[in-house]
Symmetry: C2
């Protein structure tokens, strides 16, 4: 059994990305710039945005947070997005969710120009993904792909079983692994809460991607011997093992599943660190103009 070390992989890819930025700067070119729109003061949102800001600083990207009070109108946000869409010094824009209830999240996020949609959740980004056209990939699925690629895990013809059909992880990663080329060319099954005979379906996976959001949901008897297991879950579980009173646990019952696997991602330190890195890769791709319009 080998660990798919997301922390180490993200560090290696970060070093590459940083070198790429410095090469740009050495040629007299502009650094990549990411702007985050942050409304209100939700503590989790503050943390997410701060982490993205830190990662930008580490890689030599420029970042900026545009803050708005909870009372901001939707029209004001749309206007701000117009400004950012038109600003050629800004490569990528993310709107930190959730937004206050009086604002239509969909209208706001879909107002981002697809070529600046580094979160990859715009319908145009997802539609292009399905069509196999150049596009931004949502960060978590992209992180999974990058991790498989880093460890040179062959995927062609393999059976991938994805547990969970969210728009954030399950559906995009399924569609990405169905595309031609590697990582990709997989047989892909998506299963979820309505699936009949779930353990049997899970056991058919050469590669199992668990993105169901339930701690320790996947047990040893649901995993094929020798499978590659990617655990996307980040669940807070109460514990008396530490003074905080909680710990992070994945969707996979790691201790019993790991011995059966050929590869497995730990939680934390698996998919998590790859996710923020993927946002940065998207931002660099935006800087290089890889996605038109």
């Amino acid at each position: 059994m080998q660990i798919l070390d997301g922390k180490k992989t993200a560090e290696a890819l970060s070093a590459e990305l940083k070198a790429e930025v410095e090469a740009l700067v050495a040629k007299g070119e502009r650094r990549p710039k990411l702007v985050a729109i942050l409304v209100g003061n939700n503590p989790a949102s503050e943390t997410y945005v701060r982490n993205k800001e830190k990662k930008c600083a580490e890689l030599g990207f420029i970042s900026e947070i545009r803050r708005f009070d909870t009372e901001v109108t939707e029209a004001r946000l749309l206007q701000e997005i117009d400004n950012i869409n038109a600003d050629t010094t800004i490569d990528g824009l993310i709107v930190q969710l959730p937004l206050p209830k009086h604002i239509d999240e969909q209208r706001v996020t879909h107002h981002i120009l697809p070529k600046k949609d580094v979160d990859g959740f715009h319908p145009v980004s997802l539609g292009r993904m399905l069509l196999g056209l150049p596009c931004y990939f949502p960060a978590t699925p992209y992180g999974i792909i990058k991790l498989l690629a880093y460890y040179k895990i062959p995927t062609r013809g393999k059976h991938v079983v994805v547990l969970g059909r969210s728009h954030i992880v399950g559906l995009p990663v399924a569609n990405m692994l169905l595309q031609k080329g590697e990582p990709g060319d997989c047989t892909v099954t998506v299963c979820h809460s309505k699936t009949e005979n779930l353990p049997e379906v899970l056991r058919s996976g050469d590669i199992l991607i668990a993105a169901v959001g339930k701690a320790d949901f996947v047990k040893a008897d649901m995993v094929k011997e020798g499978a590659i297991v990617i655990d996307v879950g980040i669940n807070r579980v109460e514990t008396d093992k530490n003074p905080k009173g909680w710990e992070l646990r994945g969707d996979v019952a790691y201790n019993e599943v790991a011995p059966k696997c050929s590869y497995i991602t730990p939680v934390p330190g698996g998919v998590g660190p790859m996710t923020i890195l993927s946002l940065m890769i998207n931002t660099m791709r935006a800087r290089k103009g890889e996605i038109e319009e």
Copy 2:
């Protein structure tokens, strides 16, 4: 074994659609209008467009074909699409493919306003589909869904295996059947030419959708006993059984597979008649303004 009769189903749904048009007209409202852009004189394209025209006439829709010589420039086509996008008396626009080689098909088809994209191939349409938002569905997958619905076949939790990963059929139908509600809520596997152990994968399907484009590819030993089989293939195969010298055959070896099935679509008369009907349903939905922007 019961036949899923696409011809009969399409007739029944056509009658409903026709009644809906007449109800509109009785209220003094405008009939749905579909415009097709046709470039050159490819005989197959002529046939397809003529069939759509006929279907429009049958249902009381207005249709119009805008013809261009093979030498037409891309700029001229884009301008025509701008005109149609802006014309509030036109509900749906299709560009018949293929286009001549000097024209970028993608640029042209993506120029159609998503709210008039009744073919459902615009990235915005496919992205909205993946997000579970209101959208036009591509005609063939939509026809399959409508056929399952008409026969009230329960799909929740069932394992659907889709053979083929094209943008036209395989990927959209897989994503549609993964959405919540019925027909949908399925476990979905997509397999294709790179799939290992293909017969075994196909045999796991409670519902098998064959969209591989190879005559008689799916044999009896690849199908689960009691499965529901949807045959999307329309393959011309040489024969001495008739004076034409060819006949249409599906992707499924019908004679040996049918006895194992609970339901099966014939070829012709299965998915085919549902496809053109689906385009008409999309056009009616456009007429009713169901899809914004």
